[in-house]
Symmetry: C2
């Protein structure tokens, strides 16, 4: 008998971002898995088991959840943001791909969520209003020269760029290097947005420019958006500026 | 006195995708604006005015909503998917940018939503699990040769590619041309996913390959995901295959 594994996107951190589908999936599960701080966002329910785990054990967490689902349980795995964007869905698929046949029989569902770039973009206007690229800046799972090649390709073709996992204690120089690399293609005045912990008490949003972007603090929870040559600011009396990228490409790029 | 304009993302079509924040914003508004079929998804409420409009009048719709907000009303504009991804947020910012000073004083809020690529990706596994690009294939607002340059840049750098607005009656050949262009860089066996109307009665999802992608029907409501050289299928007994892109880059790309 095979159960179900539902990977549930919680969005950036505040329950305001939960979808109805996410709330329903968490309510009906027998057992919850997830990174401890994400699991802490879900109110406890009588009779529902909880298995929090650490940040760096995605593979082991996926294995445990799949094993329990294969045994017939209704398992939910919570994920920050959207499970499919630099989060748990690809990790679970990788374990199924490499795992026993029984795991392919599991009813696996993914519940999409508000990924960080959408929450940060919404907070400042519409910086992702035109074509854009989405990259993880972590070189744990890919070589740095591939990251540089992708930064070059994205910036030179006029894409806005959203950067996940921009920096960590073990990777202190990569974000600065990325800004330097992007400066080969983009003007010093290109708008750059930093956003972290959207909707939480420690929310922080900074709107700056590419030449000064290295001065802004960032951590693993920060999402960075680097504008294209078309990204614009609208100044407003008594409010932060709006940042947006027009839907129409400028003549200059044509 | 200035009111508020909240641009609300409803996700792909089924209320399961609504966030709590979206439901609250729709509930508290005095007046709703939006494309008719999107507005029809919102249950009527006594005392709340509704202004449905057509598909091709984003600018006029944004102007009307901004004028009413500037007069002090609590206005909500509904948007399909996420307002910031090829939807209403950039159109409203453009009107503010070009409009009277009073519009800059409006409290403008964007409520993010589940954009189509996240819903389609969730439905089939995790095809956006590694770096990816997001493009509108419409050449109404940018020249076709810029679109081709971006397709070349994205595919040759190993990005997965999500295509919005792939085809319409007025743009019948662009999607086929895009597949031909991408075939210069990608193997014939590259996975391609078509998804439309997620969560609705007429939902349709097709998993195919790049060499056969031109045979699949698509329309303006279809979202197309073209894999990278690393995107894989996992076959499953009695179920559709899972499509995913591993988090780690293959050695071959390094």
């Amino acid at each position: 008998m095979s159960g179900r594994l539902t990977i549930v996107g919680l969005g950036p951190g505040d329950p305001r971002y939960w979808t109805r589908e996410a709330a329903d999936a968490l309510q009906t599960a027998d057992v919850l898995y997830g990174y401890g701080p994400y699991l802490d966002r879900v109110p406890p329910r009588d009779g529902q088991a909880r298995h929090p785990s650490g940040n760096r054990v995605e593979g082991a967490r996926a294995e445990a959840a799949l094993s329990q689902a294969a045994d017939g349980a209704l398992v939910a795995m919570v994920s920050g943001g959207d499970p499919g964007v630099f989060a748990m869905a690809a990790a679970v698929c990788g374990e199924i791909d490499a795992g026993p046949d029984a795991w392919r029989a599991i009813d696996m569902q993914v519940v999409p969520g508000i990924t960080a770039m959408l929450a940060v973009a919404a907070r400042v206007g519409a910086p992702l209003g035109h074509d854009f690229c989405v990259m993880s800046l972590s070189d744990n799972l890919k070589p740095w020269d591939l990251i540089e090649r992708r930064l070059d390709a994205a910036a030179s073709a006029g894409f806005v760029i959203a950067l996940y996992n921009p920096i960590s204690k073990a990777r202190p120089w990569q974000l600065g290097e990325a800004f330097t690399r992007l400066s080969r293609h983009l003007a010093a005045s290109t708008p750059v947005v930093f956003g972290r912990a959207m909707g939480r008490a420690d929310e922080a949003v900074t709107i700056t420019t590419l030449d000064k972007a290295g001065e802004t603090e960032a951590d693993m929870a920060t999402l960075v958006i680097v504008g294209s040559p078309e990204t614009r600011l609208i100044s407003r009396p008594g409010r932060e500026p709006l940042v947006y990228t027009p839907r129409a490409a400028a003549e200059a790029l044509a």
